[in-house]
């Protein structure tokens, strides 16, 4: 058990709260930096995907996990980013400018979608974003002169001012850099008034408002930031796959994204990464286990969907805090050994909710 003796406010503000944080996150960073020399190319590609999905996950986490607005059409932002990047890169624009445009356009679209979010809540917001997802998918498929329609579009390798990143290793480092930057940005927001305002809106709008938080501003801001991160993720996704088509940004992708953050652990930055690892490794696990299952199950179509569904149901029932919540429990168990009590993470049922102003 670690007891921190606090002597100044900076200790509460710093990202690394104690030596343990510094040590473990430095170790993780070193591992990630050394990854190209440690892992085979295939696994490095998987790790790249994890980083890309983590960037998108961070965006969705900001929106759903920290501001409490659920988007069922997040793949649309991914698509807008991916297509912007593809079109601009193919026009010969350098990577940084194309990326900025992809993020900017996604954010602008996010802003437009965020406006109805000021009026609708919960399930209705889900429906609004869902239909928005369909609209974008349809636009990508029909606007053939720009997007190439259902035939898809090829994407050239990223080009940073004459330096062409056409190997997997170079691209991995690019993704790592952006993922770290995105994480630091989100962490910074969360320790500043902006992030606190988001969390306040998630917990109680009426209360946030009575503390002087402008609901409309922060909700649209959250949508725009979330969409911008999805746009960045989409741009990297386009480069990684080198070929994109509208059906990669359909409802299934949106649900995958939502699944990712719910399983990772809503309301935690770690959750975005854990969820991304889950989302990328699950198909591999299923593929590996297929050989050991009876044919009737192993070869059945839609096995992946069933497994995803079961896992999601299991998490909602048994571990609503997701993988990160599970890790917290394991960590507490280790820290307190042998004094861990079973009810430690049980939430007290709150009383007197009935009179809450809506």
């Amino acid at each position: 058990m670690r007891f921190i003796f606090k002597t100044d406010y900076g200790q509460d503000i710093n990202l690394a709260k104690h030596g343990g944080h510094v040590f473990w996150y430095s170790a993780l960073m070193l591992l990630l930096l050394a990854a190209p020399w440690l892992f085979a190319e295939y696994w490095l590609a998987q790790l790249t995907f994890v980083l890309i999905y983590a960037i998108v996950g961070l965006g969705l986490m900001l929106l759903a996990g920290f501001t409490g607005l659920f988007s069922l059409g997040h793949a649309a932002f991914l698509g807008v980013g991916a297509y912007t990047q593809a079109v601009l890169t193919n026009l010969g624009l350098p990577f940084p400018i194309a990326l900025a445009c992809a993020a900017g356009l996604s954010a602008a679209v996010g802003l437009v979608v965020g406006l109805p979010a000021l009026r609708v809540k919960g399930i209705y917001l889900g429906m609004a974003t869902l239909s928005f997802g369909f609209i974008v998918e349809e636009v990508l498929a029909r606007w053939e002169s720009v997007t190439g329609g259902n035939a898809g579009i090829h994407v050239k390798a990223p080009n940073i001012l004459g330096w062409k990143l056409d190997t997997g290793t170079e691209f991995y480092f690019l993704c790592l850099l952006l993922a770290v930057a995105a994480t630091l940005g989100i962490l910074n927001l969360l320790r500043a008034p902006t992030g606190r305002a988001f969390v306040a809106i998630r917990d109680s709008e009426i209360l946030a408002q009575s503390k002087g938080i402008h609901l409309a501003y922060y909700k649209t801001l959250s949508f725009a930031l979330s969409a911008a991160l999805a746009g960045v993720g989409g741009a990297l996704y386009a480069h990684k796959l080198q070929f994109i088509s509208p059906d990669q940004f359909n409802i299934l992708q949106s649900i995958d994204l939502l699944l990712m953050i719910v399983i990772g652990g809503l309301g935690s930055v770690h959750g975005a990464f854990l969820g991304a690892i889950f989302l990328i490794s699950m198909p591999q696990m299923i593929a590996l286990s297929k050989d050991y299952l009876p044919d009737a199950i192993g070869q059945a179509p839609g096995l992946q969907g069933v497994v995803y569904g079961l896992v999601l149901i299991a998490f909602v029932l048994f571990e609503p805090l997701g993988l990160y919540g599970r890790w917290l429990k394991v960590r507490t168990w280790l820290q307190l050994f042998p004094f861990y009590r079973k009810g430690m993470f049980k939430r007290q049922k709150s009383f007197q909710k009935s009179d809450r102003l809506k």
């Binding site: 320790r191 008034p193 902006t194 946030a208 503390k211 002087g212 938080i213 809450r356 102003l357």
Partner: protein, 276 residues
């Protein structure tokens, strides 16, 4: 104590469909006083609070704060004018620590924008340090040191009540609205609350407008009391005057006639329904 009204309500009326929740209520809250609204359940006290914090809009009538009309303001602007409130059924961010709750109270004093927050610039850090300093002052004032880092969800009711008061104080308000500060508190905690309200008035110089049922607390801390019943003003004055006002007694206990009908003449047998 000056006599200029800090908050003045004129002919406030609110109608929810056919229900007249507040009817022609006018009052002035003077700077530096503790002003209490009392009245039986459903008298419209909390509705008046919700009108001041702009959760509801009055059907007619007006409220002005320090000479500025409130009815045209969007709800989130009310806090930055210097009006802070607590809620009847504690509204705290339950999954956050006490300190975090207090820091949210500092929102109206934020000095940084999105970009400096995103990069956590030196300015953002400085602002954050200042916010924490202020929060610590309030923690000190209300003796919450012990609970600074605890999650609100795990705190007992009495402490939550104090945390909510602390968060309201963090906004450095000119006017503090307390909605039943003693509800759910035991005798000892109610006494503490009375001391704090007096301290808030005298040491911090904050004007307090509260709704309260506990008459002991009301008479201990209030300078003036307004009694309401069924949306209308019954009486206004010092706690003693209001408590002895016949209208107030009637609203709480019923009229003397109601009682005298029940009285049995001396010597008459007990009226038993089955004997009749």
């Amino acid at each position: 104590m000056s006599t200029t009204p800090l908050l003045s309500a004129r002919d406030l009326t609110v109608r929810f469909g056919g229900v007249l929740a507040v009817n022609q209520v006018s009052f002035d809250v003077r700077e530096g006083e503790v002003f209490t609204l009392i009245g039986p359940n459903g008298a419209g006290k909390t509705t008046v609070f919700n009108l001041i914090s702009r959760i509801y809009t009055p059907t007619s009538g007006s409220i002005s704060f320090a000479g500025q009309p409130l009815s045209s303001l969007p709800p989130h602007k009310v806090a930055s004018l210097g009006i802070a409130r607590t809620f009847q059924n504690i509204e705290l961010f339950e999954h956050a620590s006490v300190l975090h709750n207090l820091l949210i109270g500092r929102h109206t004093h934020r000095q940084t924008g999105l970009w400096s927050d995103l990069f956590f610039t030196g300015k953002a850090r400085e602002a954050e340090l200042k916010a924490r300093e202020k929060a610590e002052e309030v923690i000190d004032f209300l003796d919450l040191q012990h609970y600074r880092d605890s999650l609100v969800a795990g705190l007992p009711y009495g402490i939550r009540k104090v945390v909510e008061l602390a968060r309201a104080l963090c906004t450095e308000p000119k006017l503090l609205l307390l909605d039943e500060p003693s509800s759910g508190l035991n005798v000892e905690e109610t006494d503490d609350m009375a001391f704090w309200i007096q301290d808030i008035q005298q040491e911090l110089g904050i004007t307090v407008l509260m709704v309260e049922h506990d008459m002991g607390l009301v008479s201990k801390v209030s300078d003036r009391v307004l009694a309401m019943n069924q949306g209308e003003v019954l009486a206004m004055g010092s706690p003693r005057e209001v408590q002895s006002h016949p209208g107030v007694v009637e609203a709480y206990l019923g009229t003397i006639d109601d009682v005298s009908n029940l009285r049995r003449p001396a010597g008459a047998p007990l009226a038993r329904p089955e004997a009749a």
